[in-house]
Amino acid sequence: MSIVNLGMELKALADNITHLIMSISTIRLTIEHGREKLPLATDKLEKITTETESATQQVMDVLDSLQQNDTAALECIQKLDPFCSHEPAVVEILESLRGLMDKNQTDHTRILETLQFQDLTSQQINYVSSVLDNVENELNALLLAFGSDEGNAIKKKNKVVRAFDSKATFSTAGAGQAEVDSILKEARIPGQ
């Protein structure tokens, strides 16, 4: 009876090892699958940053052109002044145009300031990417712990060093700008 029991216990032990191997294999596959997908997410985030940067640059180029047009239009209005000074109605129209051009200039400057969202967004995306990099490193460490050589191979890949301010937000940036404006205002010498 005991002979049979020892044989059965040994068989059961072998079965336990089989279950252990299956569990490790399942876990390892899940980790590998997740780890494979992570760089895709990072790549997509980098693509978003690149495309936003490119689009923002294009908008800024157009704004530059518009600002040059504003200046040129104001110069044209100024050149008309001597010819129309005796016509009050025309002077009034020119003043209106000048007012509109001034408003355009202010609005264009505001749009340029607002476009800093791109830099803030890219910093936030870089922060998320760095978190994903950390998750990937942890998954690689887990893979190594589960006896996979792949984790080691991927760990050796060169990783991009990301620069970012994790707290960069548009609202705080606005507050920062207000603070700078206030300091400059205080420091400004009267008459300058």
Partner: protein, 76 residues
């Protein structure tokens, strides 16, 4: 890596225990066999506990991380 789960060692252990299960134990006393069976059972229980921890605790967490990664990829 010393602290890694070593597949080759596990496979080898499984093979050894399977072979051992077929061995002739007739030359051992009842008492010796009983002690050996008890020890083997203890090791088996220990492996069961490790397996249970893997399945019930580690695996769901890793699955959650995996699902979040998949979700993130889908949303991007």
């Amino acid at each position: 890596m010393a602290d890694a789960f070593d597949y080759a060692t596990l496979m080898e252990a499984r093979r050894t225990f399977n072979d051992l299960a077929e061995a002739d134990f007739s030359r051992f006393s009842e008492e010796e066999l009983s002690v050996a069976a008890e020890r083997v059972r203890t090791v088996g229980e220990f492996l069961k506990k490790i397996n249970s921890k893997l399945i019930n605790e580690l695996s769901p967490k890793i699955q959650t991380v995996h699902d979040k990664i998949v979700q993130l990829n889908e949303r991007l």
